[in-house]
Symmetry: D2
Subunit: 329 residues, 4 copies
């Protein structure tokens, strides 16, 4: 089959590889669409994936074309979204219910062949069937949405929170949509890129700004979310948390990023700083929410390109142009 392959640090090509084989509790998915995200760039830089070459792609959906000998939950022809998480179920973290922090962390498209290919293999338990009204290729948005759901699970915001989000990329916009869905009384979005803020406006944000200084909230925000991974944004955001409020580190920073906090303020204002990592008990729920229309695919997916353009798509993503970019095998 045809697949994108990250062959070594910095090199990616679309080539022919062996078709995947189907284990007894696995299925083969004919990929309809596969989204790109920061993780793919990290793999290209030689991070995250334990070995190269690897077929990337952990955000995908498609049609089941083959089922393993012990599969009866889905049938050939079913359309599914795939949770890429491969938990060991055995380590200390898995056994304590925090499988997203699994000590043998693994994921389709990172440690095993992923969805940037004509076909991908997945455990049947990772497949969520799509209702009729959801288009298969759109359902590749469920995986990033399930990360955003995890973010709000960590936050457990009360209704009527005042929310500030840094970053108006795909993830910042998803955080915006989920902010509305968890009853925020206001959501403001900060991004350096004025063009990107336009989408936030289209989605009904309370206000947008190039800097939080432009926003009139002297008491700060109950919830501040970083969806940039950028050191400056994080540093700025930490200072914007209201008394008793919470900062969520959702963006993935460089390992070397460092920010400064004030212990006196953490204590005196009971500020909480916390983080959210990937998907935990949130994939099926993201699929359910996606089916209710919480994300408009026409807004969230800016580009759908052929799989053969995988390298170009990755370049565009790196350049910060558009929102979610998908490859279609």
């Amino acid at each position: 089959m045809k697949a994108a392959v990250i062959t070594g640090v910095g090199s990616v090509e679309v080539t022919t590889v062996d078709d995947p084989a189907c284990g007894p509790r696995e299925v083969i998915v004919d990929v309809a669409a596969c989204g790109l995200c920061g993780t793919d760039l990290h793999i290209l830089q030689g991070e995250f994936a334990p070995t190269l070459p690897v077929v990337p792609g952990h955000e995908f959906a498609g049609t089941v074309v083959e089922i393993g000998s012990q599969v009866n939950e889905v049938r050939v022809g079913d359309r599914v979204a795939v949770d890429p998480s491969l938990y060991c179920h055995e380590c200390r973290m898995c056994r304590s219910g925090k499988s997203n922090l699994c000590e043998r962390w693994a994921a389709i498209g990172v440690t095993t062949s992923g969805g940037a290919a004509e076909f991908a293999v997945a455990p049947v338990a990772n497949c969520v069937k799509l209702p009729d009204h959801v288009r298969t290729e759109d359902a590749a948005l469920i995986e990033p949405l399930s990360c955003a759901v995890r973010g709000y699970d960590v936050l457990r915001t009360q209704m009527a929170s005042r929310v500030l989000i840094y970053g108006s990329g795909t993830m910042g916009l998803m955080m915006l949509q989920l902010g509305k869905l968890t009853g925020a009384s206001s959501i403001e979005v900060v991004d350096l890129n004025a063009e990107r803020l336009e989408t936030a406006v289209k989605l009904g944000v309370s206000a947008v700004a190039g800097s939080a200084d432009e926003l009139d909230r002297p008491e700060g925000w109950d919830v501040v979310i970083d969806a940039t991974g950028n050191e400056k944004a994080i540093q700025d955001g930490l200072g914007r948390v209201a008394k008793g409020g919470t900062f969520l580190q959702f963006g993935v920073s460089d390992y070397s990023a460092r920010v400064t906090i004030e212990p006196y303020r953490i204590y005196n204002q009971e500020i909480t700083i916390t983080g959210s990592m990937a998907v935990l008990h949130s994939f099926e729920r993201a699929a359910d929410l996606f089916a209710t229309g919480v994300l408009d695919p026409e807004i969230f997916i800016s580009d759908r390109v052929p799989l053969t353009d995988y390298a170009g798509a990755l370049d565009q993503f790196k350049a910060g142009k558009g929102r979610k970019i998908q490859v279609l095998p």
Copy 2:
């Protein structure tokens, strides 16, 4: 001034009473509208209010016409919604943060003169200023909304919950709106009164039914809310909770109501049954949500009648006709 007065068990009249006097940290509100609710009926039946006569009305909003000598938070002319809760701040429950369970429970319109009158007095701390775009009389909906917010605070639902609500009266419909606002993936409403279900449909419910048997959810619902107070509804609802799910007793039953539960199921399926009582840390938040348009007053307020019709309004409410009925002094 003119006021409705519950003079004794079963008897109510609109008459002239003394104008209220304003304490140093109080304000006098020229009432724009006052909503009726089940509590008013209870008072009429000789319950809840410790002494009669009393001017009822705990759901109201209006314009500040006088401020106490030590008030500087609001000014004459400000339009406000009023939280009727009068906590003692001293009892065991208040000191443990559960002031809605205050051992000296008191409320404007129950233990002191309320809003079914031309003027009402309120502590300034109980007044929340209305933004320009909110009409004063509509803001009388904030109080019941703040009870509904408390209900969801108790529930602390996760996003993508499947919610079933019994009752399509004002409160059931508010629970529906807040279900959407807390990210439910589906919300179904059951009511015996087909006419009332029409409003739920208008508000975008997932499905309505005269009986939960008609709904196709073999696994049950993650969250079941009683907003009827009716023994039969509660009994039925308790059996509909999914594994690991929660039942919220929001409706106010008769003291004598009794329902049956199965200890084996509570244990084996880790079912939770809990309750929500009035307003706790939720009034300002309800006001914020109301300002975002979470409730459409044209849908929620079915009747606006002159204060002089107070007795008739109460009769209509008792008969279960319409939704929120307001008197306008």
Copy 3:
């Protein structure tokens, strides 16, 4: 090997069965001791276990005598306690983090051969190594303790709670010990069996009684725990919960048990009723606590009998004599 076998409804014998075989990620444990509990009685009555015959015993510890081809976490000679839970990791409940409510619920000693035998097989991930100072046979107490830990995880009590426990059997006494360990300011225990209350006294209970009426707590208790499964105890306990308090259904009632609740009180006093089922993310933690000495085995284990007396041990347990009864193969 020698094993107790429940061969059919009501019939149990100690006989010779095949030695267990070890899968690649499994180990064979030479059982040091295996505790009896209500579940074993249920199996004998034809409940819980999907098929008979079965070797019972889900509370056991022993020494590893063989390891599977892919095991490197434990070695032959290691002493381990075994978590009997066998989660599918695939069903709706498992994928939502509630594996104790697994839809394909399975457990060593219930759905597969258990510890009432010379040897038992277990997945390596279910084995927790014992520190030197813990005696192997005592460690069979870790499994029931891990259920009790789950109970308190569900409760998430605040420090300084007033706790009332029904039942002074093994589980009630464990709930007592964990009540102290979660900072209860007082713990009272009710049991009909005066002899059993003596052990509670020995463990430092605040007070014991044959009926909660004898205890002077007019405001009720913040936390009431049923550890009897008895309908009368549950009914009585539900009425003892203080405002804002919680009732935990820990005891396993008959399917047919029914109790009555008052919806008005659930609402007006914000009472919570909840349940706790088996082990969830609590086995390793129970092992850690056990190693700190939270349970004195000399008090908790009343009888250690040879495996050959399995039937007699079950009879004694049924008769409610003693506390934890162990068989030693």
Copy 4:
């Protein structure tokens, strides 16, 4: 009466001041003992107290010698511990249930005359009666204990947590005692001051060290608590939090203290950093726990000096000698 007075920045004296007057809902307490803490030093440095002179002392207990005209909860002769918190009950934070973050923050001994005097006045709601077996002067420990309880309320630790505490002063030792009381499976304490660690050892700590490097916990600690306020300790502690773990900022740092965090780690390991400030719904509970003997006054109180030595006592505290130092009027 005789009282310690902080007359200006850096100057303190024991002198004669007017006896306190008793409002209708207040009582006059004949102070038995008053503890010193970091807050008193801050006041002396010109911080915290809005105006000087002030009589310091917010940790005290004594005997009621006069009650206000509307007091019926306590009687002359009752022995009480006093919660110094004076909440406004009106501000945004108070109305949202976070009165410890009150925007008009006030406290006996900081904004009004405190307990370093023969007599002190307190609202009756702030007085908690002592049971017979608690000595009045020992009960001055309840206030710091109630801060420590708040700390654990913020943490909401699960049982069997591994806890690391920085600081073996009064507060670190209280955190140690409460760590045991919330079911920690191990508690380790780090302090630079070897002498102070001896008390931790006496209290049954799992291990002590001059540096966390000496402790063998490669996975880190589930809970790390700073009870020093020291920048270096905080920086070190932040790096010791295990995957999914929590850091509590309990120590009060200088305003100017700054520490560095790694956003990648916060995200990838879902680390939480949070803070705890003073007393929230925890005073009565601390009193209840104190009555159970959770703190041994003979260990916790190192010095009891006459009120006339107030200045010397403050110097000794500043020098870090002893543990809790009390003045006895």
